[in-house]
Amino acid sequence: MGKRFILPGFGLTLGYTLVYLTLIVLIPLSALFLKTESGGWAHFWQTVTSPQVVASYKVSFGISLVAALLNGVFGVIAAWVLVRYRFPGRRLLDAIVDLPFALPTAVAGIALTTLYAPNDWIGHLFAYNQPLGSIFSPQHPFGAWLATQAWAKDFLGREGLRIAFSQLGIFIALTFIGLPFVVRTVQPVIQDLHLDVEEAAACLGATRFQTFTRVILPGLLPAIFTGVTLAYGRAVGEYGSVIFIAGNLPFKTQITPVLIVSKLEDYDYSGAAGLGFVMLIASFVILLLSNGFQAWDNRRRGVA
């Protein structure tokens, strides 16, 4: 690591860095806090706890969690398959993992909406009169059970399972957006696994499943937690890929960023700032959490 001030340019580069950071990041971010404060803390509290806003928290933070967890499961499987198996198309799969990272969010948004809209592409397969959709119809036992579940009411439409313009659609969009995070965080850990440990478990009489659950998986947990947290952080703030497929029904399919925008349009700057402030704090907490998991992972693997 660099020694103190031997190389030239410290003042210049650090100065530019600090100025840039201050102007572009720090001052604007502090505007969040100050604008909130200038509107009064009472107004702030009222805004961030109003029923519509709280409902949006449930949508944004709740569905993001489910999506992140799903990515946790499939991400581990994908990482394992991509590292350990050889099959045609592996390189292609490996490369496409980063698509959600590279694709503009608006593009992803309209593609997913078109894909799952009721009369389109895949969406129409879920109409009650279609074979796949019939599972969800009230005539079918599964569909009948589903209709009794409060959380499912939102996406059981009149004519079929409603994916686009329902919470299910938001879930799909947020899963898309978080997909690379778990895969890319877990892949290097799997790559560094020492096979002799797995062989030792086998010689001791463990079946492959036992080896995986007792020996391999515990070693992957820190990385999995890190990846899930990263995916969660990304999903919570996501805007472009969600607003097309969401439907934006207040209390049902409205995400918090949408509320920020609508407050701005109403010129309620301090309200918008307050919400923005809440989202900033939430992002910060999630960031700290993921750093913590990452540190745990580094500690674990440092002693491999």
Binding site: E199, A200, A201, C203, A206, R214, P218, V303
Partner: protein, 251 residues
């Protein structure tokens, strides 16, 4: 338990890792597989353990009369100790040692109290009594290898297979563990096969030595036999034998 290796061949791409290897190990024997790196000694050991498999129809592995060639490693019940310990880093020492017992089928699994007692006895036998709760990262290399031994012995295997077990340790610890292994094996008379490239180690510990090079067995014999009557040039050169010994090599 006796081990018989019959006509094992294993080819990687074009070169043979094992070329028609046959070997018989008597019950209770401690034999060393000795040879330079790349000679196939580790491959042979792993084939005996079930971690590698011979090319199809190219040989058999027989444990005490039973053909185990088609059995995967987890069914063979052979204790294996690795050069780099291969301990389960997220588990405590006692959990490591108990692992083999805990993954047994319910019907065969001993009671928890029995497991704990066995762990305690084994740790005592390897001179690590009281270390139950520690983590592998808190132990030295020599200690970790002793845990590995205890772990392998916990399942009461019929054969012990050691892959350069002291290779990662420094000289003093190596000597101590070597001595300990010899005494231990003398006591319990467990069939043991260990791989090494260090001839001093092989000669000090083994009842018989198997010299391997280029996938072929070059000579099998007691340390004395091999030193006095080397079978070919390789043996003489590898063991750095003085000129008189080489005189007995057939042309």
């Amino acid at each position: 338990m006796s081990i018989e290796v019959r006509d094992i061949t294993k080819k990687y791409a074009r070169f043979p890792a094992l070329d028609n290897v046959s070997l018989k190990v008597e019950s209770g024997e401690l034999i060393a597989l000795l040879g330079p790196s790349g000679s196939g000694k580790t491959t042979l050991l792993r084939t005996i353990a079930g971690l590698d498999f011979p090319d199809s129809n190219a040989g058999r592995i027989i444990y005490d009369g039973t053909d185990v060639t088609e059995l995967s490693a987890y069914k063979r019940h052979a204790g294996f100790v690795f050069q780099h310990y291969a301990l389960f880093n997220h588990m405590s020492i006692s959990e490591n040692v108990a692992f083999g017992l805990r993954v047994m089928k319910r019907s065969k699994r001993p009671a928890e109290s029995v497991i704990q007692e066995r762990v305690r006895q084994l740790l005592e036998a390897v001179q690590l009594a009281g270390y139950e709760k520690r983590l592998p990262s808190q132990l030295s290399g020599g200690q970790r290898q002793r845990v590995a031994f205890a772990r392998a012995l916990a399942i009461e295997p019929q054969v012990l297979l050691l892959d350069e077990p002291f290779g990662a340790l420094d000289a003093k610890v190596r000597k101590e563990l070597r001595r300990w292994l010899r005494e231990f094996q003398d006591r319990i008379k467990l069939t043991t096969i260990f791989v090494t490239h260090d001839q001093e180690e092989a000669f000090e510990v083994a009842d018989r030595v198997v010299l391997i090079d280029k996938g072929r067995i070059q000579q099998i014999g007691t340390p004395d036999e091999v030193r006095k009557t080397p079978a070919n040039r390789f043996v003489a050169e590898f063991l750095d034998l003085p000129a008189e010994a080489t005189a007995s090599i057939p042309a």
